[in-house]
């Protein structure tokens, strides 16, 4: 089932929770909706499920307008963040409930339950009450219950947020496997960027009610559209700057620690524009010899040093008081100390020029 959001708004009185959302989820895709809490992603999911009314815009399932259709008729399977298992029904009854409402024959109900129980490895637990299950098992029951009705679209609302770290890894693989087996169009809402990056091929990032960028994880990381995404996906050093000159696809910007040349701009800028730079910690290279010169080279002082096992993170203070995080693998020796001066260099392709933070999200 292909799902299309067209110009969707959700307003609560004066507050606009979702702002002009346009999104297409391909048939059979596992699509991620990523964003910090309060960004409107759960509201979007609930509108899709029919649990919240759409204020403005249209929602299409396979080209058919379902905006006004109630939840009942959309054929949605949903896994709630708290699982919402009915505590007074056994696992079996929980799964059976939705099937019974569909007036299926007894044999068909039995067959479908067996099927989803097998897929989610719940065989030994069907007669237990939800309270007698572990968190991971409850999660699987919620998944089985949603899958049993063979939904048009499967909605997962932060499905792993209530699990501990180890179980979370296990369930990620589980969900990927089940998606592959069933091929159901799935929308997966999460605030955990690592979850989205590691599992997804299509990730939409939302911020303050706006959908900002939809791309694969690599593109999101290397070429974010806004400073927010640069900061939200992975770690970065945000730096305020002013555009000095523009020359074709190249931009030169002025920072408090000197001029930087860039070959990536997320939008068109003119000389004099205020911009925000994103410098990834691993993109900055430290020059111990302090002998470098030329473009994209600047001097810093070691402010602080954090040992992280496989790597070390330096906190470097550049001219103008700017502090930069730099990751360094295999430091050559420890002859330097806090306070010593080192040189830094960065490739022009790693200087990301983005709209300034305070301008808010733009689409």
């Amino acid at each position: 089932m292909e799902v299309v959001f067209k110009g969707i708004y959700k307003r609560y009185g004066q507050v606009t929770a979702v702002h002009n959302l346009n999104l297409k989820i391909e048939k059979g895709a596992l699509h991620f909706l990523l964003g910090p809490s309060g960004c409107g992603k759960t509201t979007t999911l609930r509108m899709l499920a029919g649990l919240e009314a759409v204020s403005e815009g249209q929602l299409f399932f396979n080209g058919k307008d379902v905006t006004k259709q109630p939840a009942v008729e959309r054929g949605i399977g949903m896994v709630f963040q708290n699982y919402a298992l009915w505590p007074h029904m056994t696992v079996y009854k929980n799964i059976e409930y939705g099937l019974k409402l569909r007036k299926l024959s007894k044999e068909e109900i039995k067959r479908r339950i067996d099927e989803v129980v097998a897929i989610t490895h719940l065989g030994n637990f069907v007669d237990r009450l939800p309270g007698q299950l572990s968190g991971g098992q409850q999660q699987r029951v919620a998944l089985a219950r949603a899958l049993a009705i063979r939904p048009n679209v499967l909605l997962l609302d932060e499905p792993l947020s209530n699990l501990d770290a180890k179980l979370r890894m296990e369930m990620r693989d589980n969900i990927l496997r089940i998606h592959k087996q069933t091929g159901i169009t799935t929308l997966y809402v999460t605030h955990d960027q690592r979850e989205a990056l590691s599992m997804g091929t299509n990730v939409s990032v939302m911020h303050a009610g706006h959908l900002i960028q939809t791309d694969n994880p690599r593109t999101l990381y290397t070429t974010p559209k806004t400073a927010f995404i640069a900061g939200f996906i992975g770690e970065t050093n945000p730096v305020d700057a002013v555009v000095e000159s523009v020359n074709g696809s190249e931009t030169t910007v002025r920072t408090s620690f000197g001029l930087l040349r860039s070959t990536y701009q997320s939008a068109t800028f003119n000389a004099g524009d205020k911009v925000s730079l994103s410098l990834r910690p691993e993109a900055i290279h430290i020059d111990w010899t302090k002998s470098g010169t030329g473009e994209n080279y600047f001097m810093t002082n070691v402010e602080h040093l954090t040992y992280l096992g496989e790597s070390e993170q330096f906190l470097l203070r550049a001219a103008g008081g700017h502090c930069l995080k730099v990751n360094f693998y295999h430091a050559p020796d420890h002859s330097f100390h806090e306070g010593s001066e080192v040189g830094c260099t960065i490739d022009a392709s790693d200087v990301l020029v983005l709209p300034p933070q305070d301008m808010g999200p733009s689409t």
């Binding site: 009942v72 708290n82 009915w86």
Partner: protein, 573 residues
């Protein structure tokens, strides 16, 4: 893929579900209008209008009537003194319950609640027996040589105190429950913080615990005050006729000739409403949200070596004294030869046999079971639906609906019964013909707040995603309510229903006023009528009272078991 026939079917189902939903809301509002708003409005109108003309002359008549003015004064005084005494009695009990752990706590705490469902007017029978001129107390005192002539305990000067004591012994559990809930709600960490700052313990109580517990205290205090002020049964049986409820009771029969009754009832409404508002707005103060979410130590202290006797003495002693009148009733009920001795010389079960042998008594039990059962059923359905509408915010004016449903907590039963008589005389509901409909409705309306509170508490604890999950599977609202919601709040429904049933069983004012034909007398009216009879009537009345109390004990123990500590919240306004 979804087929269109499926779609049509489900659209139809949804329409039915919507119809049921809005229908119940409409029916609820209709019932509340006809049996709560309308009767009160009729009283108000009659207090100011005579044959369609505005008049103010009933009030000067009322204020110049010495008997009525004396009654008002007496009743207000009963309310105030009873409230003060219940406070003094309940504060230490609540503090002990909230702060200490000791052996037998569960049992003693349960025992403390029993007087709540013991009808005070049945206790009055026992008190009258023990404190009569030739009663057990006087005889004992004379035997011991402490007095020479019997003391007139229940003489005109002492009736006031007899009523107050009976009310206090009946109503202190409500205060105790409210205070316990309020104190339990005070996060111990706010006190611990004060301790680390070096604030002395007494100052902590004054500056921190009391302001936080105050809304709970006044919520309980106003109920105690209004109930003590408007209780009909106790002053009626003690014979203290110079009180508002008894005066209203006497006026009902000739209210058409003597419209001052309307003015008096109007005054009672004004008084209770204004006391209610004052206690809520001015005295109760703001209700504070407890913000602490971190570790809350629920550990309760064990009393020190000298604390044990104090606690057992206080808790056990209170329960014992509160149950003493009912113990007296029990002794009366099984007494055989009892003449000029402190305790009966012989005991018999004869009076219990008589209960089942006389139509009046036996019908009383049957009628009460029927009426209380039916009204509980009404409460169950209405209460659940109203709570559902309020918690899930299905209509825009839920706040107003909640306020409307809670009115009966503050509205005296005698006012409501009076309103029913004047509103529905000479209609199809006239209690002179058949009081059953009005009795069931009166019982139901007055206990509806408990049911709504109980169901609301359950629904609020239940995550709404459990219902939404059902919705995503295509279940209608009604189907979800039946299969998911009701089973999950069942404990609250049972507890609320038991409470409604208990209170309906011992209802006095509605029963005495509305049950106008002997065939329809409920338990309480049967007890009253038997009590007035000559001969062994008083003894049979006692036996009947004991049977009623036995039923109630079973109910209250049951609801206490199901609901636990949350019971205090039911008596809030």
């Amino acid at each position: 893929m979804i087929q269109s026939t499926n779609e049509e079917a489900s659209a139809w189902r949804r329409k039915v579900s919507d119809f049921v939903g809005y229908g119940t809301v409409a029916v609820t509002i209709g019932i509340l209008f006809f049996f709560l708003v309308l009767p009160v409005s009729v009283i108000m109108a009659r207090a100011f209008f005579n044959n369609g003309e505005f008049t103010f002359r009933y009030f000067p008549l009322l204020f110049s009537n010495e008997l009525l003015m004396g009654s008002i004064w007496n009743s207000v005084l009963i309310g105030i003194v009873a409230t003060i005494f219940t406070t003094i009695l309940s504060f230490p009990l609540a503090l002990i319950n909230a702060r200490f752990d000791f052996k037998g706590k569960a049992l003693l705490s349960g025992l403390l609640l029993v007087p709540m469902v013991m009808p005070p007017f049945v206790g009055a029978i026992g008190i009258m027996r023990f404190f009569a001129r030739r009663g057990s107390v006087n005889l004992t005192l004379m035997d011991m040589g402490w007095i020479d002539t019997p003391i007139d305990w229940l003489g005109p000067d002492n009736m006031f105190w007899a009523v107050v004591i009976l009310e206090v012994l009946h109503l202190y559990p409500i205060m105790y429950l409210n205070l316990t809930a309020a104190l339990a709600n005070v996060d111990p960490s706010v006190e611990e913080m004060a301790t680390t700052l070096g604030v002395p313990k007494w100052k902590q109580y004054r500056d921190i615990v009391w302001p936080l517990a105050r809304p709970g205290y006044f919520a309980g205090a106003i109920i105690v005050f209004i109930w003590a002020l408007t209780d009909l049964g106790t002053p009626l049986l003690v014979g203290y006729h110079e009180t508002i409820p008894v005066q209203i009771f006497n006026m009902i029969t000739d209210v058409n000739e003597n419209p001052v009754g309307y003015a008096l009832v109007f005054l009672v409404i004004v008084m209770t409403v204004s006391f209610f508002v004052i206690s809520k707005k001015a005295l109760g103060g703001k209700k504070y949200e407890m913000m602490a979410k971190g570790h809350v130590s629920n550990e309760k202290k064990h009393p020190s070596w000298w604390g044990y006797p104090l606690i057992y003495g206080l808790v056990g002693g209170t329960a014992f004294i509160a149950l003493l009148p009912h113990l007296a009733v029990l002794i009366t009920a099984i007494s055989d030869k009892w003449f000029m001795t402190p305790l009966p010389e012989q005991y018999t079960m004869e009076h219990f046999k008589q209960v089942f042998g006389t139509d009046l008594a036996f019908n009383g039990i049957k009628n009460s079971f029927f009426l209380a059962g039916l009204s509980t059923l009404v409460d169950l359905v209405l209460g659940l639906l109203i709570a559902y509408v309020i918690v899930r915010k299905l209509v825009p004016f839920t706040g107003a609906l909640d306020g409307l449903v809670m009115i009966p907590l503050a509205l005296p039963g005698i006012v409501l019964a009076f309103g029913y008589v004047v509103t529905y005389s000479d209609t199809i509901l006239d209690p002179l013909h058949n009081p059953v409909p009005l009795l069931v409705i009166a019982y139901a309306i007055r206990r509806l707040p408990y049911m709504v509170r109980s169901a609301t508490a359950g629904l609020q604890q239940m995550s709404s995603s459990l219902e939404e999950a059902s919705t995503t599977f295509g279940a209608s609202r009604f189907h979800t309510l039946r299969k998911i919601t009701v089973p999950l709040v069942m404990a609250n429904l049972i507890a609320g229903a038991l409470l409604c049933f208990s209170y309906a069983m011992l209802d006095v004012s509605d029963s005495l006023i509305l049950a106008m034909k002997e065939r329809f007398y409920p338990l309480t009216k049967a007890i009253y009528v038997l009590f007035l009879e000559q001969g062994t009537g008083e003894l049979v009345a006692s036996a009947l009272g004991i049977i009623g109390m036995a039923i109630l004990i079973v109910c209250i123990m049951g609801s206490s078991l199901v609901l636990g500590k949350k019971m205090g919240e039911l008596f809030r306004s």
